[in-house]
């Protein structure tokens, strides 16, 4: 993302206090070769409109499965999901119009250029951002005619984020937002999320980077072995972990998940 270029999305209409994402008692199992693995077990979380909530957890903690369930890509074995009050699977046509998702793996049409990919995704929404402006805001102008397959990992990531935002979503799920980005691009992405907050967009931010969550998120949910082990403000998580409020999120996270340094 170009430094100093702020991504401005149209302001989300104020609709009063409400819950943008509400997941209740989610359970998801995967069966493979006779073995059943519980990926998500009794997970409940909520994100209020305009909030930025971090979803933390080590690899395999169930973060991406939770994203799949919240975005409606997978059906839970138990529990319910509501996005702005609607079931993302039963009310697919309603939810998809207001939800932008950046999946963990940036996968798009390999042979299409950046510009073609963003324009294609823009066509799916009745309103949205101008693709060229979004490409510029993502710092991809010089790569706009490059096929997706020929992009660097960071450029693929930024294209994937552009695609998630092109429909002007009211609720955004960003799974590993800054993975593969250089420090400058990473800083630009953090500015992007701040811009989303100012515009009233709700964000569920999945991350391994404690500093990111600490800087950006109003609250964080910590997953471990598929279960929610803590949910609070970053400072509140430190207190929950029995530490001083200013101990820092990383210390709190390591204590809460029983990890050793």
């Amino acid at each position: 993302m170009t430094r100093g270029t702020r991504l401005r999305l149209p302001a989300v209409p104020s609709v009063g206090a409400m819950t943008a994402i509400r997941a209740t008692n989610l359970r998801k199992e995967f069966r493979r070769r006779g073995r059943t693995t519980v990926a998500v077990d009794d997970v409940s979380l909520h994100v209020e409109v305009g909030e930025i909530v971090g979803l933390l957890g080590r690899n395999g903690a169930g973060k991406s499965t939770t994203v799949d369930l919240v975005s409606g890509l997978r059906a839970p074995e138990a529990g319910t999901v509501r996005v702005l009050g609607h079931d993302p699977r039963a009310d697919r046509a309603k939810v998809r119009g207001v939800l932008g998702v950046q999946l963990q793996q940036p996968r798009l049409h390999d042979a299409l250029t950046v510009r073609e990919v963003v324009r294609l995704h823009r066509s799916f929404y009745p309103t949205g951002r101008e693709p060229d402006e979004l490409i510029e805001a993502m710092g991809l102008t010089d790569s706009r005619s490059t096929p997706f397959a020929d992009l660097s990992g960071g450029q693929m990531q930024r294209t994937s984020i552009a695609v998630a935002l092109v429909g002007n979503p009211r609720v955004v799920i960003l799974d590993e937002l800054t993975t593969g980005l250089d420090p400058e691009a990473r800083r630009g992405m953090l500015d992007l999320v701040r811009g989303l907050r100012e515009d009233g967009t709700t964000v569920l931010l999945v991350s391994h980077h404690m500093d990111e969550v600490e800087k950006l998120c109003d609250r964080a949910v910590v997953l471990d072995a598929g279960r929610v082990v803590a949910e609070n403000t970053p400072a509140g998580l430190a207190v929950d972990a029995g530490l001083a409020p200013d101990a820092g999120l990383e210390e709190a996270y390591l204590t809460l998940t029983g990890a050793t340094r």
Partner: protein
Amino acid sequence: MTDTLIPPLPEVRPGARAWFALMGAEAKMVARDTAGLIVPLGMPILILVMNGIGFDTDVVIPGTDGRTAFDIFVLPITLTFIVAMVGVVNMPSFLATYRRTGILRRLGVTPASPVMVLVAQAVVGIAQILVGLVLAVGVAHLAFGANPPVDVWTAVGMLAFTVAAMYSVGMLVAAVAPTPQSSVAIGLVAFFAMAALGGLFGPRENLPEPLAEIGGVLPFGAAVDALGAAWAGDVVPVAALVGLAVTTVVSSAVAALMFRWE
């Protein structure tokens, strides 16, 4: 934090612009895949030309309103070849690649459904087939004096039936293939098995009788027989119609049961 304040959300369904954009994207994907573009069109034309050079294209088959052996045998084989290559080999490899690379999953979080990709891919594939058919008929006419079918509408109908049958086989290949590479392998094996028994490498009559009969009801041989009948002005053999119909229904049903988006 009360859900009762939530305003109703409008349903967002992709309109004509999205459909055209997706079809345009699919067309670009096909055009930029050099092998996928050229092989299904180039190989059949090459076989057509080789046969045209080797055939005496002036010998008229009695009772066919002046149609030659080239019209009744070589041209139907060429046209069937084009449809089968696109439907059985090309299309499933695209779908398997999309599944493998997660594009169908990515589209699953947008208002566009993965079904739109299937439809767009089918439309582009059919357009590619039409280009191939026009090219083949054009070359056959200009280079070898080929004649149009006696019953044009029957030929058009049988071509449409052939497309349906070959695409259903292609969907079955896409459903069972775990990887893009395996989809190409399975598609090619299915294609050459059907083509060999259907007369691509020589008259079906030269095969052992049981194999010739099987070849006649498999979609390649059935399509060749149906198109040959349309070119000659004959009644389309019932066995060919049954073969195409059973292939379409059974393959589609099994593919629908087994198809995986991921």
